[in-house]
């Protein structure tokens, strides 16, 4: 049996629904000032690709992966990067405690930082994080756990 697949909503709807998350994600990865340029670049890239989307699934994860790529590009361009605000909220049970991570002032390598932020800040699946990082789900999982180990070592 065929299942009807919803087509993407008007870009306006998508933008209103995701812009706050995207800005929060970029601020965590880049800091407040650089996040603004990255915000514009993220949604312009999304707009460019939006006309070719065939369904409306995982749009939030999709745009957060774009934001991550934009942030990684930006970080490669500009170094060093101050790190303090990596994770801000409390985590559900079984995950690294945000309070523990939030106090850290050390810098993670960009890929590990992105993996940690997307996994624990945004609850993205490793598949999506792998896509964002241009690698695999397994590589994303390894980057996230390496990041967490590194953070733990510095406490």
């Amino acid at each position: 049996m065929m299942t009807a697949v919803a087509t993407p909503p008007p870009f306006e709807r998508f933008y209103l629904d995701t812009r706050a998350d995207v800005l929060a994600c970029l601020r965590r990865m880049l800091g407040r000032t650089e996040a603004e340029d990255a915000f514009q670049e993220t949604f312009l890239r999304a707009l460019r690709a939006y006309g070719d989307l065939e369904h409306a699934r995982h749009l939030r994860a999709w745009v957060l992966t774009i934001a991550t790529r934009v942030a990684l590009d930006e970080r490669r361009r500009r170094r060093p990067v101050p790190v303090a605000e990596i994770v801000e909220r409390a985590a559900p049970d079984g995950r690294p405690a945000y309070a523990e991570l939030a106090d850290l002032a050390g810098s993670l390598p960009p890929t590990e930082r992105a993996a940690v932020v997307l996994r624990y800040g945004y609850d993205l699946a490793y598949d999506d994080i792998g896509t964002a990082l241009g690698s695999s789900a397994e590589a994303a999982r390894q980057a996230a756990s390496a990041g967490v180990r590194r953070l733990r070592r510095t406490t």
């Binding site: 993407p8 933008y15 706050a20 800005l23 929060a24 514009q40």
Partner: protein
Amino acid sequence: VTVPADLDRRFRDAAAASGLLDVAFDLHDSPVGPLLVAATPRGLCRIGFDPEPEREAERLAHDLGARVLRSPNPLAPARRQLDEYFESSRRDFDLPVDLAGVAAFQRAVLEELRLVPYGATATYGELATRIGRPGASRAVGGALNRNPVAIVVPCHRIVGASGSLTGYAGGLERKRTLLDLEGGYAQLDV
């Protein structure tokens, strides 16, 4: 996190400048109520009386492509000319209109309709005759009722054979206001 208004505005401007939008839209206050005004890169594609942008954005996305965004800059000329029209300092609109999403018969009706001048009226039957389809006045009425670009494509200038206002997608009150503004309705013998 709240997206600052200036950051939001900068993105909406950049999106329009990028040429990537299928449709830009904005809301515009007028004496006949809030208007939703929308344009493709080829011209004006919507002036509607439904002030609910969400609903209209859905329709625009369905008809013209999903990249629909509220973005004021591309609509600035249309909004300015609408203001001038309502201030009676403009009689003709100098704006490209994009009827690409409209079926052939309706497009023929709407293009003929654009030739009905400010301050004048014509009947459904007259319009049918002018497009070479005498007797198709009911179909002409249907085409006008679905006019996507109200006011600029002046379906308010079409009246019943007796001179009565008959129908208007935006409601008869608006039709009367527009005709009064143009001074055309007062001449009608109703």
